[in-house]
Every structure is written in C-alpha cells, then in structure tokens.
C-alpha cells in the first residue's frame, strides 16, 4: 500500500460517533447524587454517620482491590461503582452501627456480592443489600438498634455503640438515648411505631427527615430530588421507582380504606422507611434489574407489592431490602418472560 500518506489514518469499524456518556460517568454522577443524602445524614446523626460512611467506603475499596488482585483482573476501583456500593451500604445502616460490623458488611458486600461473580456487571444481587442482609442476619440486635438524630453534641461525640471493640458486643445505647434524646423520643422508627403502636408519624416529618431510621433513609424528599437528578440525566431508569410507587399504592390503598386504624395510608407507606432510598437508588441498580420496559415495570411492581406485604403481614417492620433482593433473584425469570416482540416478527410465531 502506498506509504505516501503523511497522516496516520486510523481504521475503525462503524459507529464512529459515541454518545458522550460512559459507565464511569454514570457511576460518578450517582455518587454526586448520593452526596447530598450523605451530607444530610451527617448533619442529622453527626460524626457517627460520617465515620460509618468513611469506614464502609474504605473497606469496599480495599476489598475490591484485594479481590481484583487475587483473581488477576485489573483494579476496577476507578469506575466508581464500588463507591456507590459503599455509600448506599452506609446509608442503610443504623447511625450507631458498630464500625467493625460495618467493615464486615462492606467486605461481604464486595466479596460475596460482587467479586465472587466476576465484578462489575456480573453480580446477581445488589451488592450493598447483600452486605446489609448479611449483617442483618448476623447481628440482628445491632441492626435494629436505632438512635435519635439531632442530639446535642453529635458533632463531637460518637454514639457509644459506634466504637465497639472488634468482635465484641456494642455498648447498650438505652442510657445514652435517655440522656441525649429530646423528650419522649425512644428512637423507634416510624414503621415500628406504626406497626406495633399504630402511631403514624406525620408525612411532613417523613419528607424532611426529622425521624429515626437508617443513616440515609430519613429524608424522603431529599432522596427523591437527588434521584430525579439522575432520572433527568437518563442515568437511572425512572420507570422502576414509578412502578414501585404504583405497586405500593395499589396494595396499601385498599387496605387503608378497609381499616385505617391498623393499616397506614399509602402516603405514609411511600415516604417511610427505606422505600424512597430503595426505590430511587437500589432497585435501579441496572446490573440486577431487567431491561425491557415490561420487565422493568413488572420488577418494580414486584418490589412494591412485596415491600407492603412484608411490612404489613411479615415479621419485620421493614421490607424494602428483602423485596429488592427477592426481585433481583426473580429478574432473570422476569427477563425471560418479557423479551420484546422484535420488529417484523409474525404474530403466530409470538403466540406459539
């Protein structure tokens, strides 16, 4: 071939244009979207929350690096997905969760939830939730110990259980709560209050986040807005939260109409507990959700319905995590029954 050409001509195959959005960018933007939620949680719960977030982040990054090295893959920390996992994990833990248990959760989340399956894109369940579900089963007491927010001195003093010695039981927080909390505040979450006492927390409190709960789940409004940012940048599939909200409403509304003394209103259902965080940031983890429109809607619906069923009829007060995990497990099956009809495919073929 003639070598007279001065310039190097590169040979590539077609699609010479590329949409200016990459995995790394998506993941980075999810991290951005989570930062306000983290900031609010630190404001609400103080340095304990900050320590929790930092510890899970560090653990997840180290675990990811370790497993990449062990399995001979290039280090994949740079794609930011591990940071999302870490942040979401921290946001779903109670504020006074012992740090050593958070390390366990982070290690399990990345090790068992992600690296074991080959890393980004191959995991079968949401890694952050795998981590949380593991510690929930391992340390059921610690993970259902809630402490109130906005206590005085939260920026200089840790919640006593936070600093438990590794492998040792955390200190009891009852006394601490009684000393620090505002009047009558027991640290019970709105869902527990509703379920066991039939006391319904006002929707305004749920929206603004002045209630007890996991580090990052308290302010439904803030989470919703941050999620919207992602939806508008098309980095998150808005159909999933929409289907979840629909599923929640469709089950809880008739129940509420039937007996509003026992069953909470759909609004309460939507804004309490981890539903908003779960719907906006966790159910939308694309790796473990179906891809087709019908699939995605079905998936969201399953999560919504399961969440309400577990909350109202199950042993737990909170159902989002398990609902998402079960839906993750279901998603290959959902995908296989919701493959779209391709262009030009004959009707009878589709039916047979």
């Amino acid at each position: 071939m003639s070598k007279k050409q001065k310039k190097v001509v590169e040979i590539r195959t077609s699609r010479h244009l590329k949409k200016a959005i990459s995995v790394e960018q998506i993941m980075r933007n999810v991290v951005y979207a989570l930062l306000p939620v983290c900031a609010w949680s630190v404001y609400q719960f103080g340095i304990s929350a900050l320590a929790l977030i930092l510890v899970t982040t560090l653990t997840c990054i180290l675990t990811e690096s370790l497993f990449c090295r062990l399995s001979g893959r290039p280090n994949s920390v740079g794609d930011y997905s591990v940071v999302i996992t870490a942040l979401l994990l921290a946001l779903t833990l109670p504020p006074g969760f012992p740090l050593w248990m958070a390390v366990v959760a982070g290690f399990i989340a990345i090790g068992l939830g992600k690296s074991l399956f080959g890393g980004l894109g191959f995991n079968v369940m949401n890694p952050a939730l795998v981590g949380r579900a593991f510690v929930q089963a391992a340390f059921p007491v610690a993970i259902t110990t809630w402490t109130p927010g906005f206590v005085t001195g939260r920026f200089v003093e840790f919640i006593p259980s936070t600093l438990a010695i590794p492998f040792m039981s955390p200190a009891n927080t009852d006394v601490w709560v009684r000393q620090h909390a505002l009047d009558g505040f027991t640290g019970a979450t709105p869902l527990a209050l509703q379920k066991f006492e039939h006391v319904t927390v006002s929707t305004v409190d749920l929206l603004t986040g002045t209630v007890a709960g996991s580090v990052g789940e308290t302010s439904a409004l803030l989470i919703f807005v941050c999620g919207l940012y992602l939806a508008f940048r098309k980095m998150m599939d808005w159909r999933i939260p929409a289907a979840i909200f629909f599923g929640v409403a469709v089950i809880s509304w008739p129940l509420y109409l039937m007996n509003s003394a026992i069953y909470p209103s759909p609004l309460f259902m939507l804004f309490s507990g981890g539903l908003m965080l779960g719907a906006m940031f966790m159910a939308t983890d694309m790796v473990v959700s179906p891809m087709t429109t019908r699939g995605v809607l079905l998936y969201g619906l399953v999560i919504g319905v399961l969440t309400v069923l577990i909350r109202l009829f199950g042993g737990l007060t909170e159902g989002v995590m398990y609902a998402i995990l079960v839906a993750n497990a279901l998603s290959p099956l959902i995908a296989s029954v919701t493959q779209p009809r391709i262009y030009g495919e004959q009707k009878q073929e589709a039916e047979s």
Binding site: F67, L70, S71, L112, S115, L116, F117, G118, G119, G121, F122, V124, M125, V130, A133, F134, A137, K195, F196, H198, I262, L306, L309, I310, F313, G314, G315, L316, G319, M321, Y322, A323, L325, V326, N328, A329, L330, S331, P332, L333, S336
Partner: protein, 196 residues
C-alpha cells in the same frame, strides 16, 4: 393467622420455611437440576406431583400404622410405599399422557428416594396434620421447591455468561447462590403471622 389454617400452612411451607432454602431438604436435585430453566421447571412439576402422591400415601399408611399400633415400622413403610406409589402413578402417567411423561419421566425415579419427599411425609406426621392440612402442606412444599429451583436456574443461566473467577466456578458458586437466595428469603419470616 391461625397456625393451623390451610393458607398459613401453605405459605409457611412455600416461603417462610422453604424446603430447600430454610430446611435444607432436597438439595441434591436442587443443585443437580438447576442449571437450566427448562429442566428446572420440569423437575419442579415432577416434584410437586411426587410430593402430592407421597403426602396422600403417607397419610393413608400412617392411619393404618396408628390403627394397628405398629408405628415403629413407619420409616420402612413410608419409604416402601412412597416408592411404589410413585412407580404406579408413573406407569399410569406413561399410559394416559405420554407427553406429560416425557416431561417428567426422567426425573421421577430421581426424586422418589429423596429427602424432600420423605421429609415431607415425616413432617406432616410429626405435626399431626389432618388430610386437608397435609394436602396444603405438600402443595406448599412443592410450590416452594419449584420457586427456589426456578430462581436458582435463572441466576445460574445468567452466570453462564459471566466471567467468573476460576475458583468460584462449580459447586461452590451454586452453594453461595443458594445462600444468597436463602438470605433473601429471610425476609418472608413471620409472613402471615398476626403481629398487630
């Protein structure tokens, strides 16, 4: 909900105390036949079917055993009668519905002497279920088994396309998957109990 109600027995056997994921019964077929959705589905159907047959036969035998006060022969009778009942039904199916037989046939002999089936019969006896309760229990167990099997098959098919690390291929991976499923199913704890 009343712990003896049919719905609760069904739900309990299908989800809360799922045979595979919570009680560890029937792991061999669970691990052996969950690689493909299609086989998993057929296996699930076959298991449901055998469970129903053995539940009914166990109920009958137990009645006789109690009547004659020879409960010490229970184990031997259960295993013998279940195996023959399944064999008989298998022959009937083969005769009357060859297509159904083709779908279930190869699995039936595998299942007959399997701990999920015997476990089902023993549990229903220990818990002193009456006939309808036994039916609810066995259908619940069968449905639960099928659900677990299908979920597992879906996940394993998905992982076929993944770039698994070399150490986590094979049985270890299946067990870890089962563990994750079992973890997820913990969410069903207490479902249907009244907690108000």
């Amino acid at each position: 909900m009343d712990p003896n109600s049919l719905t609760f027995i069904f739900l309990n056997a299908a989800l809360i105390n799922n045979f595979v994921l919570a009680l560890f019964l029937g792991l061999c077929p669970f691990l052996g036949v969950s690689a493909k959705k299609e086989t998993a589905w057929n296996m699930g159907l076959a298991t449901m079917f055998v469970m129903l047959v053995s539940s009914i036969s166990a109920y009958g035998i137990n009645w006789i055993l109690v009547k004659f006060d020879i409960e010490f022969l229970r184990l031997i009778c259960y295993i013998a009668v279940i195996a023959s009942a399944v064999q008989l039904v298998e022959m009937a199916v083969k005769k009357f519905s060859p297509s159904l037989f083709r779908a279930l046939g190869i699995f039936l002999p595998l299942i007959t002497t399997n701990c999920a089936i015997l476990g089902l019969a023993l549990f229903q006896t220990f818990r002193e279920y009456d006939f309808l309760q036994s039916l609810a229990f066995s259908t619940g167990a069968g449905v639960g088994f099928t659900i677990a099997l299908m979920l597992m098959a879906g996940l394993r098919e998905k992982l076929e396309l993944a770039k698994l690390p070399s150490v986590s291929q094979g049985a270890a991976m299946s067990l870890m998957l089962a563990g994750l499923l079992s973890l997820a199913f913990m969410g069903f704890a207490g479902l249907g109990g009244s907690h108000a």
